[in-house]
């Protein structure tokens, strides 16, 4: 390409929901058309990046199948028959239906189902603001795969995410001696922000271990790969802890200072002993045992003496043990042999792994959502964090690097201060709300940036029971996705190059996702659609100024002082560094203010400790099971969830869904490579091509998620998944979908 004076270059960034990569993009524009995208510069040149999906973004923006006008359904739901209507007609249809439904059931019967907003902020915020004003229902999408990790993190650390505690230093490029990548495959799902750093660390001498049921791209880069059965992570964690305790390698000072490990637990009811139980003045205080005076002590900010982590004691006739003793007792059941039986990892490897973790100078645990998409995924995370805690590898203070930004979410969460805001419903609870009216009926749904039918669990239930109970379905979309086919009204939205938003990613940067061309066809941004609808509902004043005013609003926080749209148009801005020598505690928002190795609120559930509980479906003893195969869904580098599944240039390299199966399991079922096979369970079946590979162990099959339903011969991945709610997760936060805790059988497809 020549240096053409008629080509304009604008910097924007990709919000494709890889989570945190948010690649800066330089768009080349000639006569209102984007002719090229390239990776944009970052203040630190090493951070310049793009991935194969981001590179292919123009194939979405200029895709021939884009929805160009508002479409009103004329055929049956799912049939895909629509007619073009005007935006005025579309808004009138929405108002008419919202009015009818809100008069009959109240505004809370109208739900906003907002999917992964990616790294976007205001496109998500605008919907929240309207939901807040109308007191309708925000359906939280954490539960479609991303609620298990927050559940576990909330219990043990008191924070939504564990990342700053586990890998904060790693993100500051402080390389550890040992890096454990557990239950995540950044090589495909977060190649830039995480995978590059893994390789940078390895170059500097970090030993890398990957724990995953599949031998992933990330595993291929590891010094040591540890393959375990799906949904057995907490057993492995207990097996590791057992070796560490047995060898007296746990970090006692750390446990004493930062955890509730020394707090005494009553052996009669499992509750933490309190001052009131033994006649102390400080009635709610936790109690310790001091070995020096051989008596109890009330917990204070600083606890001197010889505080015991082990033993059994009697105070006023009440038998008590320190939390750590209970954890040790539990872990002692997980001998290398028993742990091996459950996890499939050899006893020898478990011992070596445990000793390495305990003796390394420092260990980073890099993790994400994948392994928590199991019925007890929240406990899996607690197990992992417990291993990190007892070896002193959970960071407790922020002492170097760039201070994370705080965004001004308040006007979006509570549009009118002091007045009630929206109702909130987890997405897995939405099924019962729609189908049974429990806890309250939802009668209309607005889907935005979500391919609900494709990506959420139990497809047939959605088609047969969920959609028929809805009186009105709106979907904002770029394409006629499997889910959009069921909408009554489809509103065409812009691709990310056609509207503006603010991103606080990738760490340590702030970026503007800048509109580089005008919206194509009759498409509008989500923010514009919300603003225009709000105007018609009488809330126009709250959205004056559209996208730009929303961006200014969300950036209105002291941590973003001096940063504004004008500055960000020039490029990414680095966050403010922590002043030299500065340091502040990260804190733990748990009931005790400590890391909680023992969670008192889960005593009745039998989950106060990070116990191993067998998976809901994933078979541990396959020979006894009707459905002997464990079915998991890895992520593909060719898609971000279901985005990019319809991009031909990427389909050229990865043309169709494949089920990965171990050659041994294929042989026993007389299946050859490239045979069409049917994967099934009691819920449904799906038919696709078999790929024989050792990347999955015997007993496990993998189909990457995100393929559209119509790309399978029949069925799809989520036809096989279940919508069972874990009540503990519901109690703690919100229940997660468990896409990686599913049992199936597989057979050669019948010839058609």
């Amino acid at each position: 390409m020549q240096n053409n004076p008629f080509i304009m270059k604008y910097r924007t960034c990709c919000p494709a929901h890889c989570g945190i990569d948010a690649c800066g993009i330089l768009a080349h524009i000639k006569e209102d058309k984007i002719i090229k995208l390239e990776p944009a510069e970052f203040p630190d040149p090493i951070d310049r990046r793009i991935c194969l999906r981001g590179l292919s973004s123009l194939d979405i923006t200029y895709h021939p199948d884009r929805i160009k006008y508002p479409l009103k359904r004329v055929g049956e739901r799912g049939e895909g028959k629509f007619i073009r209507i005007s935006w005025d007609e579309a808004y009138n249809l929405i108002i008419e239906n919202f009015k009818k439904i809100s008069e009959k059931y109240g505004w809370r019967a109208i739900g906003w189902v907002l999917g992964g907003p990616g790294a976007g902020t205001t496109k998500f915020g605008a919907y929240l603001r309207l939901a807040s004003l109308t007191q309708s229902t925000r359906v939280s999408a954490w539960g479609y795969g991303d609620a298990g990790l927050p559940c576990g993190s909330r219990i043990i650390l008191g924070h939504q995410f564990p990342y700053i505690h586990l890998q904060g230093k790693f993100w500051q490029r402080e390389w550890p001696e040992l890096l454990i990548v557990w239950g995540t495959n950044p090589g495909e799902s977060m190649p830039l922000q995480n995978m590059r750093k893994i390789m940078d660390a390895k170059e500097q001498g970090t030993q890398v271990i990957v724990i995953d049921p599949r031998f992933t791209i990330t595993a291929s880069k590891a010094d040591q790969y540890i393959g375990l059965r799906p949904a057995t992570d907490s057993a492995l964690a207990l097996g590791i802890m057992n070796i560490i305790f047995k060898n007296n390698l746990h970090n006692k000072n750390y446990i004493l200072e930062h955890t509730n490990g020394p707090y005494l637990v009553r052996t009669d009811d499992g509750k933490l002993l309190r001052g009131k139980d033994i006649g102390e003045k400080k009635v709610e205080a936790y109690i310790l045992w001091d070995g020096a005076s051989n008596s109890h002590k009330v917990v204070r900010r600083k606890n001197s003496g010889d505080i015991c982590l082990t033993g059994t004691y009697k105070i006023n006739g009440i038998e008590v043990k320190p939390v750590l003793q209970l954890l040790m007792d539990l872990a002692s059941e997980y001998t290398p042999e028993k742990t091996a039986e459950i996890t499939g990892v050899s006893p020898d490897l478990i011992i070596k792994l445990a000793k390495r973790i305990a003796t390394a100078k420092d260990v980073t645990f890099l993790t994400h959502m994948g392994f928590t998409r199991t019925y007890h995924g929240d406990i899996s995370l607690r197990g992992l964090i417990s291993v990190a805690v007892i070896t002193g590898n959970v960071t407790t203070s922020f002492s170097s690097g760039y201070l994370p930004a705080t965004l001004n979410w308040e006007p979006f969460l509570n549009a009118r201060p002091g007045e009630p805001s929206y109702h909130r419903l987890g997405i897995l609870k939405l099924y019962d709300a729609v189908i049974k009216g429990d806890p309250f009926p939802i009668k209309a749904i607005w889907f935005a940036f979500i391919n609900f039918l494709n990506q959420c669990v139990n497809t047939n239930k959605i088609i047969d029971e969920f959609f028929p109970n809805l009186e009105f379905i709106v979907q904002t979309e770029l394409f006629l996705t499997p889910s959009a086919k069921y909408a009554d009204l489809i509103l065409p939205v812009c691709s990310f190059l056609e509207f503006s938003d603010f991103l606080s990613f990738p760490y340590p940067y702030l970026q503007l996702q800048r509109k580089v061309i005008e919206p194509l066809y009759e498409s509008k941004s989500d923010v514009t659609i919300v603003s225009e609808l709000a105007d018609r509902l009488g809330y126009g004043e709250y959205f004056k100024g559209g996208e730009e005013s929303m961006i200014d609003m969300i950036m209105d926080n002291p941590t973003l002082e001096g940063v504004n749209r004008k500055v960000l148009e020039q490029g990414a801005v680095k966050l403010k560094p922590l002043p030299e020598g500065g340091s502040f505690p990260l804190g733990f928002n748990t009931p005790s203010g400590k890391i909680e190795l023992y969670a008192e609120q889960l005593i009745e559930d039998g989950q106060a400790l990070p116990v191993y509980l067998p998976p809901l479906e994933a078979p541990i003893t396959p020979e006894k099971r009707k459905y002997p195969l464990s079915f998991i869904q890895g992520h593909s580098r060719f898609r971000t969830h279901s985005s990019f599944a319809n991009v031909q240039s990427l389909l050229d390299l990865n043309p169709e869904p494949l089920v990965e199966i171990n050659p041994k399991d294929a042989k026993s079922r007389s299946i050859l490579n490239n045979d069409y096979v049917t994967v099934y369970n009691d819920r449904a079946k799906t038919t696709l091509k078999a790929r024989l590979t050792e990347s999955v162990p015997s007993g496990v099959i993998n189909i990457t998620e995100g393929w559209w339903i119509d790309q399978f011969k029949e069925g799809s991945v989520n036809h096989l998944t279940h919508d069972i709610v874990n009540p503990v997760q519901e109690k703690v936060y919100e229940p997660n979908m468990h896409m990686n805790d599913v049992a199936v059988e597989l057979k050669k497809a019948e010839a058609k």
Partner: protein
Amino acid sequence: MNIQLGLVIDQERCIGCEACTVACRIENNTSLLWIKVETLGGEEKDTPNGKHPNLSLNFLPHLCNHCERPPCIDSCSIDALVKLENGIVMLNQEECTGCKACLSSCPYGVIEFNEETNIAEKCNFCSHRINENLEPFCVICCEGQAMVFGDLNNPNSKISQMIAEREVFQLKLEEKTKPSVYYCPPKPKYNL
């Protein structure tokens, strides 16, 4: 000394993502694959070698080697293939007649034939970008930062230093073509 532009691909950092392939197709406006990522493992793409869990998987991107002694140039009867002063082996599509002689002359099999236009195509190291002092597009789009581009004849260049310091190999040295694409093999693994 003359310039010889070359490339080092570090297998230790290549994650087989094929961003290079995608980048190349966009930059050069072609439907063909001028750079192709080979799986070194099982027989199928992205599959490992060995038995679970003792497995290995690596990647080897193939592209024009911009040989110092390029046999394709000798095979071309009309000078559509030329060696530029910076060492790039350039295929001028405007002059190519589609005789396919170069395809069989290349020991690396990296010259592609476009059945629609009846013309041979291959990697030109993004010669149009080199003229603007830019690196090849695949290099700046490499997810793993596994590619280093530069002048092999300049001992101070990053690429020359990398070749001097790291273990490297070239493909099919027995063909005596003196390829300008080098590879760093994966490093040994430190098992538990």
